[in-house]
Amino acid sequence: MTAPALTGGEGARPAPGVRRRAAALLHRRPRLRLSLLLSAPLAWLVVVYLGALAAIFLTAFWSTDVFTGEVVRRFTLANFRTLLDEPVYRTVALRSLGVAVAVTLIDTAIGFPMALYMAKVARPRHRPYLMIAILAPLWAAYLVKAYAWRVMLQQGGLLDEALKPLGLGSPGYGLTATVLVLSYLWLPYMILPVYTGLERLPDSLLDAAGDLGARPLRTFRTVLLPLVFPSLVAGSIFTFSLSLGDYITVKIVGGSQQLLGNVVYDNIGAANNLPFAAAVATIPVVVMLGYLAAARRTGALREL
C-alpha cells in the first residue's frame, strides 16, 4: 500500500499515486505546506479560544426571558445600559481595579528584591533551592491555601496572636484580607519573570556602571531598572489579570465584600442571566486589553 510511494520507482509501477503527487505539490509550495501544518492548531485557537470570547461578547447583547429563564436572541443594549446606569456596578468595577492594583504593587515591592537577591546576590548553587522554595506553594491547591488564610485571619487566630505584642490584631475578613491573600497567591508569578529578566542581565553592565563612578542607587535607577522594566511589566500582567478575575478568595476571606467576578458568578449561578453576566465579563476584558496595549509599548510582551 505505502511501498510504491516510499520507494518511488520511476514509472515502474502503473500510477505514481495521489500521495506522490501531493508530496511533490507540497514540496514545490512551502506556503501551502506551512498553512496545512498550522491549520489544525489555528482552527483550535480561533474556534475554541477566540470563538468563546466572541460568543461572550455576542451574548452580552441578548437578554433572558424573565419567566422561563431562556436566552432571547434579540439584539438589545439593555445590559450595557444597566451597567452604566446602576452606580453599584461602577463601584464594584473600581473596587476590583483597586484590589488588582494594590496586589500588583505589593507583589512588585516584595517580588523585585527577592528576584534580585536570587539572580545577583545568592550563590549560584543555592539558586535552584530558592527557586523550589518559590515554586513550592504552587503545588498546593488554591482552595486549600485560601481556607488556610481564613483560619489564620480568624479572631484569636495565628495572625491575631502574632501581632498582639505589637498592639495590633488580625484585619478580620474584608478587602484588606482579600488583598493580602491574593498578594500571597500570585507572588510567584511576579518573581519568576523578574528573576528571568535579571538573570539575563550581564553582571559586567553593573560593574561598568560602578567603574564609571555610579553609586548603587544611580546604577539601580539608570541601568538595572530600565533593563528589567519589561520583565516587571510582564509579571504585573499576571498579578493584575489574575486578581481582576478572582472571585473565590473574596468569597472565602472577603467578608461582606464583592468583586466583579462575584457579580458574574451570581448572575450565572443564582439568576441564570447569562447575557448580563457576559456584559459584566466584558469589563475586565476591556481593562486587560487596555493594560496589554500599554504593556506592548514597553516591550514586555516579548518577556512573557
Binding site: 480561533v46 477566540l50 419567566f67 475578613y173 461582606s256
Partner: protein, 403 residues
C-alpha cells in the same frame, strides 16, 4: 505585519460569532415566546397513569447528600439497596444551586429532580416536569399533610411532586457573647446593634424574603402577606432594610462550613442559619443557641419531580416511592439534617430524638415557616391589581445591596 494578522484573526472571530448567532436565531424562533411575561400558563403535559416494569436505570439530579451510594461514608447508602430491589441502576448528578438544577433538567437527559421551592415553579412553567400521579407512589399516603399540595409542589390542584423533607432558616447566636438572648429577627436589622461587624446573613437573593418577613410584623402598613410576593413598593422597603443592614454585616455566608468556622472563632456571633449548621457548631464545642424568632421564618421544602420527557419513568416513580419510604426518608433526613416528609420516618431514625430536634411533627412550628418559592411577576398571594417583582430583579437588587 503583526497588526494585520491580528486584524485578520479578529475578522475571522467575528465571522464565526455572527454565523453562530444566525444559527441560534433560526433554532429558537418559537421557543422564546412560549411563556408570557407575567402570566402563569401551565403547559399541558399528561400524567403517567400506570406503572410498568423498570427500564434498568434512572438518571437523577439531586442536592448533595440526597442520593448516597456509600461512596462518602460506607454506612450511608440507600442507593445500593434500591438498585438491588428494583433493578434500576441509579446515575446521580449533584447540583449546587437551584438554577443549576433548572438548567440540567432542561437538557432532557434526566428523569427526576429534588427541586427546592425556588426551582419547582420554574420547572413546571417551562414544561420541564410532568404532574405526578401520587396514586402510583404508595408511601405518599404517610407524608405529613402540611407538605401536600402546596404552592411550590402543585398548580391548580394538580400535584407535581413528592415532598422529600423540610427545614427552617433559624436565628443563631453565641450564647456567651450575645445577651440577652434574641427572640426576634429585629436583632439582625437593628441599626444600633452592639454586635455590628459580627452579624452574618445568607448570601443569596432569596434572603430578601427574610427582610420582607421581618417587615410583615415590623411595618404592617406595607401590607406584605407573603414574603415572596412583593410589589415594587414592598420590595423597595425590603431592599432599603437590607442596605441598612449591610453596614452591620461581618460576612455573608453561602457555604455551611464557612459559617460553622465563623461562629466557632467568634467572627460571627449572630445571624441566620440552618439546624444542621447549629448541630455541627455545637459538636465543635461552639456555645451557640438557635431559635425560631417570633416573626416566624423562611425555610425550604424539597420536592422530587419527574421530567416530562423522562426516558425511564417507571424507575423514576420507583425512586420517588423509595426515597419517601419510612426507613430511607429517615436516613436521608439524618444525613442531611432536616425534617423528614414521611410521618413514619420518625420511628426509624437512629437518634430517637431526631424528629423532635428538627420539629418534624410540629405543624405549629412549620406553620410559621414560609418555604422558599420563586418570586414571579404574577403575585403569589393572589393580588391581581399589582405586578410583583420577579426573581431576576431580586438578583440584581442583591448585587446592589452588597454594594
Amino acid at each position: 505585519m503583526w497588526s494585520t494578522r491580528m486584524a485578520l484573526a479578529a475578522a475571522a472571530t467575528l465571522a464565526i460569532g455572527l454565523t453562530a448567532a444566525a444559527c441560534g436565531d433560526g433554532g429558537s424562533g418559537g421557543r422564546a415566546s412560549g411563556a408570557g411575561q407575567g402570566g402563569f400558563t401551565v403547559p399541558k403535559i399528561p400524567m403517567q397513569q400506570s406503572l410498568g416494569a423498570g427500564e434498568g436505570e434512572v438518571d437523577l439530579v439531586a442536592w448533595a447528600g440526597y442520593a448516597e451510594d456509600g461512596s462518602n461514608d460506607p454506612k450511608v447508602d440507600w442507593v445500593t439497596p434500591f438498585e438491588k430491589q428494583t433493578g434500576c441502576k441509579v446515575n446521580t448528578k449533584v447540583a449546587g444551586t437551584s438554577d443549576e438544577m433548572v438548567t440540567l433538567m432542561k437538557t432532557g437527559e434526566y428523569d427526576a429532580v429534588s427541586a427546592s421551592g425556588d426551582a419547582s415553579l420554574r420547572l413546571i412553567a417551562s414544561g420541564t416536569v410532568a404532574p405526578v400521579n401520587t396514586g402510583l407512589v404508595p408511601n405518599y399516603a404517610d407524608v405529613f399533610a402540611g407538605l401536600k399540595m402546596k404552592p411550590w409542589n402543585s398548580v391548580n390542584g394538580v400535584s407535581y411532586g413528592i415532598p422529600h423533607g423540610r427545614g427552617a432558616n433559624l436565628l443563631m447566636w453565641r450564647s456567651d457573647k450575645v445577651k440577652p438572648a434574641p427572640d426576634s429577627w429585629g436583632a439582625v436589622f437593628d441599626a444600633n446593634s452592639p454586635y455590628k461587624g459580627a452579624i452574618t446573613a445568607y448570601d443569596s437573593p432569596i434572603y430578601i424574603a427574610d427582610a420582607a418577613l421581618y417587615l410583615m410584623s415590623a411595618k404592617p402598613e406595607l401590607g406584605i402577606k407573603d414574603p415572596y410576593a412583593l410589589d415594587q413598593k414592598q420590595f423597595d422597603a425590603a431592599v432599603q432594610l437590607l442596605k441598612a443592614q449591610r453596614g452591620l454585616i461581618g460576612e455573608y455566608w453561602s457555604d455551611y462550613t464557612k459559617e460553622v468556622q465563623a461562629f466557632k472563632s467568634g467572627d460571627s456571633v449572630l445571624g441566620t442559619t440552618w439546624q444542621v449548621i447549629a448541630n455541627l457548631a455545637e459538636a465543635e464545642k461552639a456555645p451557640v443557641k438557635v431559635t425560631l424568632p417570633k416573626e416566624g421564618s423562611t425555610g425550604w421544602s424539597d420536592t422530587w419531580m419527574v421530567a416530562a420527557k423522562a426516558k425511564h419513568p417507571n424507575c423514576a416513580y420507583k425512586w420517588l416511592d423509595w426515597i419517601v419510604s419510612p426507613k430511607v426518608n429517615a436516613q436521608v433526613a439524618e444525613w442531611f439534617g432536616e425534617a423528614p416528609a414521611n410521618a413514619k420516618a420518625c420511628e426509624e431514625t437512629a437518634d430517637e430524638h431526631f424528629c423532635d430536634t428538627f420539629h418534624a411533627t410540629d405543624e405549629n412550628y412549620f406553620s410559621k415557616v414560609h418555604f422558599w418559592t420563586t418570586p414571579i411577576a404574577q403575585c403569589l398571594d393572589g393580588r391581581t391589581d399589582v405586578k410583583c417583582v420577579d426573581y431576576s430583579k431580586w438578583t440584581q437588587a442583591w448585587t446592589t445591596i452588597k454594594g
